[in-house]
């Protein structure tokens, strides 16, 4: 039986399943994972779907093995993914750094639950967003996307593969339990309309002289040779030179790590995604993402009905952070409000780029932040002016 790769059509679909279908549509043909709520349905769906399309599904002994198998599969040329939640995400951190250092593309889906530790296995959280950026040791940069709907579970999973391949970095889909378990309309386009950004590949046939980490282009991304193609490449997590050989000098180290970071910064405009709602004349700018942004949009709509000039910047890419967009908004805004299901993470990033007061609407997780506390925060700053800004509001 030949299963269909792209399930073109209109569906009423579970967020985790939409993520799995996004992976299949993106050409993902390898999944390794370890069950963990609320991400398990992604693995279950792919266990069924990958064999239908000639892909490989394997349930590993833990999340460390899962991410490492994904990196190995990608080194051999496959589009490869794993999915997990907080505890598993923590276990993966060391080898996410390996993927960054070896420049092996991979996609990691974290369907966030209440944390830290085992936390709230079946309930939502958004407290892994800084871990996505900084979780592995050392300096490196990644991309991370926060879907707010099953539709975006589909779309952003595809984008994650494209960004991972195009820039040879680990890319994370930072979903949450609400979005992962929500059932909503998902439109899957025809196969030929699925965007595809390819991995850059060696321009010359295998032979002497291929230097796997030599930079030929402005984008700082080296072409990638896969296992078994005859290039006889060496990949190491040690600091390495253009040949991929270990080189323990401070100069090589600085050059390599700077390039890995600069590679993402220089190409950030191709990775950054956001959504603007009622921002044109907004004086009160609410910033939110993932499931919380659904409440934030409602709060902003209600505020507008009351005549309050509020708007919403919905972060789709958490990383790279759309710093220029926030800086631009700072020219018109009197106050910022950040709503997120943690005790203040992305707010730190907003505070880096604006001089206005930034008010937080936080909750440690376990239940969605409803529109009310966000609306209340908007009204407070609207009626008391920016002097009321800068405080932190607990939504709990």
């Amino acid at each position: 039986m030949k299963g269909r790769g792209v399930l073109t059509g209109v569906h009423f679909m579970h967020g985790d399943h939409a993520c799995a279908e996004g992976a299949i549509a993106a050409g993902c043909r390898f999944f390794a994972g370890y069950p963990i709520t609320p991400s398990t349905e992604i693995a279950e769906r792919l266990a069924q779907r990958l064999p239908e399309v000639g892909g490989v599904f394997i349930q590993m002994e833990d999340e460390i093995a899962s991410i490492v198998a994904v990196i190995g599969a990608s080194a051999a040329g496959a589009r490869a993914m794993t999915a997990t939640s907080g505890p598993g995400f923590s276990l993966m951190m060391e080898s996410i750094g390996l993927a960054a250092m070896m420049e092996i593309p991979c996609v990691i889906v974290d369907v966030q639950r209440g944390s830290p530790s085992t936390g709230l296995p079946t309930l939502p959280g958004q407290a892994d967003v800084m871990q996505a950026r900084w979780g592995s040791h050392g300096d490196y940069e990644i991309a991370a996307y926060a879907p707010w709907s099953p539709q975006e579970m589909f779309d952003l999973t595809i984008l994650a593969f494209n960004v991972a391949d195009r820039f040879r970095i680990p890319v994370m889909v930072m979903a949450d339990e609400v979005v992962g378990h929500m059932v909503e309309r998902v439109v899957i386009p025809p196969e030929d309309q699925i965007p595809r950004w390819e991995r850059k590949r060696p321009r010359y046939p295998a032979g002497d002289g291929f230097r796997p980490f030599a930079i030929e282009d402005e984008d700082l991304v080296p072409p990638m040779a896969h296992a078994g193609e005859g290039y006889r490449v060496h990949f190491t997590g040690l600091t390495h030179d253009e040949r991929g050989y270990p080189d323990m000098s401070a100069e090589t180290h600085h050059r390599l790590v700077s390039r890995l970071v600069e590679k993402v910064r220089r190409n950030a405009s191709q990775m950054i995604r956001y959504d603007a709602y009622a921002l044109d004349d907004a004086k009160i700018v609410v910033i939110s993402y993932g499931c919380t942004a659904r409440s934030a949009r409602r709060a902003v709509a209600d505020a507008r009905r009351m005549g309050i000039p509020a708007g919403l910047l919905r972060l789709i890419s958490l990383w790279p952070f759309p710093a220029d967009v926030v800086r631009e908004l700072a020219r018109q805004a009197e106050v910022f409000i950040v709503a997120e299901m943690n005790l203040g993470q992305m707010i730190c990033e907003v505070e880096r780029y604006v001089s206005q007061p930034v008010k937080g609407v936080f909750h440690a997780g376990g239940a969605m932040i409803p529109p009310d506390p966000i609306l209340q925060a908007i009204r407070e700053v609207a009626f008391h002016g920016s002097r009321a800004g800068g405080g932190k509001t607990s939504a709990g």
Binding site: A32, V68, I71, A73, A75, A227, G237, Y245, P246
Partner: protein, 280 residues
């Protein structure tokens, strides 16, 4: 007087990254011997060099892939087996060898080791057992004998070691053998054999680490350890008929046999991912 014969080219030249020499290993270290056996086996395997891939974790042994002129991957500590599984499942036509140390494979990576053997995934493991963590300066490891001295067991090791062949046999490997760095022919022969044997194979090679294990345990140098191997190695054809599994535990400091040989050679169904299509 005979003229010295200078060879312009060594048969293994193509398999070694000569531009990476000299290597990092200490005088008397056993790792290089095993790497040479691996290179020789590749040469004799008849499998094109491009189809060989070598993966390691971290450690002195794990530096081997960096010196092999193959597609080679030096992964995180303890993780070469899942890395190799990823490669193998995507490109089953490749011969994927994991070349790593006892600590890497049996301590931090121990879970992957037993699960890969249980699955019987088709990868070839060469494990250098030097009874300690060489790279980090001679600490106790999962194969350090009870009572042995290392930098973190200055009063003697209070723990029992793993008996690796017994562990791998129990976990499900289809081929398990053990040699010492003295047994270069057998090592090469078994690596060659493992290339042709479908499933999870495990070759343990006991090797001197004169710096980390030898010196604190009164083994003067690498040569002295080779002498111990010569004096005490005893070939076993069938376990447990000839000797019980428990007897395969090694302690170089005790005057008892070091059993070597092919302990397991059996058939089990090889792990295959589920496929519903012939080609995807």
């Amino acid at each position: 007087m005979a003229h010295a014969l200078v060879a312009e080219k060594h048969p293994l030249d193509d398999l070694i990254r000569r531009d990476r020499m000299p290597h990092i290993w200490c005088p008397g270290c056993g790792i290089g011997i095993v790497m040479r056996c691996y290179a020789q086996a590749i040469l004799e395997s008849g499998i094109p060099v491009e189809r060989h891939v070598v993966v390691s974790g971290i450690g002195c042994t794990a530096r081997v892939p960096g010196y092999m002129n193959l597609d080679s991957y030096h992964a995180t500590h303890g993780r070469p087996i899942p890395f190799a599984i990823g490669i193998k499942l995507v490109k089953p036509e490749l011969t994927v060898t994991v070349f790593s140390g006892d600590g890497d494979l049996a301590a931090i990576g121990g879970n992957h080791l037993i699960h890969a053997a249980r699955r019987n995934v088709d990868i070839k493991v060469i494990c250098i057992n030097n009874f300690n963590y060489g790279m980090t300066g001679g600490q106790v490891g999962p194969t350090t004998p009870l009572g042995a001295r290392t930098t973190t067991t200055p009063y003697g090791n209070p723990e029992h070691p793993f008996n690796l062949p017994y562990l791998l046999a129990a976990a499900g490997a289809v081929f398990v053998s053990r040699w010492t760095t003295l047994h270069v022919r057998q090592i090469k022969q078994d690596i060659l054999y493992s290339f042709r044997k479908p499933g999870f194979t495990f070759i343990e090679v006991l090797a001197p680490c004169p710096v980390g294990f030898g010196r604190p345990n009164d083994i003067e140098d690498g040569v002295e350890e080779m002498r111990i191997y010569r004096r005490r190695s005893q070939l076993v054809y069938r376990v447990p008929e000839e000797v019980p599994w428990e007897a395969l535990e090694v302690d170089l400091r005790e005057e008892r046999p070091i059993y070597v040989g092919r302990f397991v050679d059996r058939e089990r169904e090889v792990f295959q991912p589920i496929r519903l299509t012939s080609k995807g």
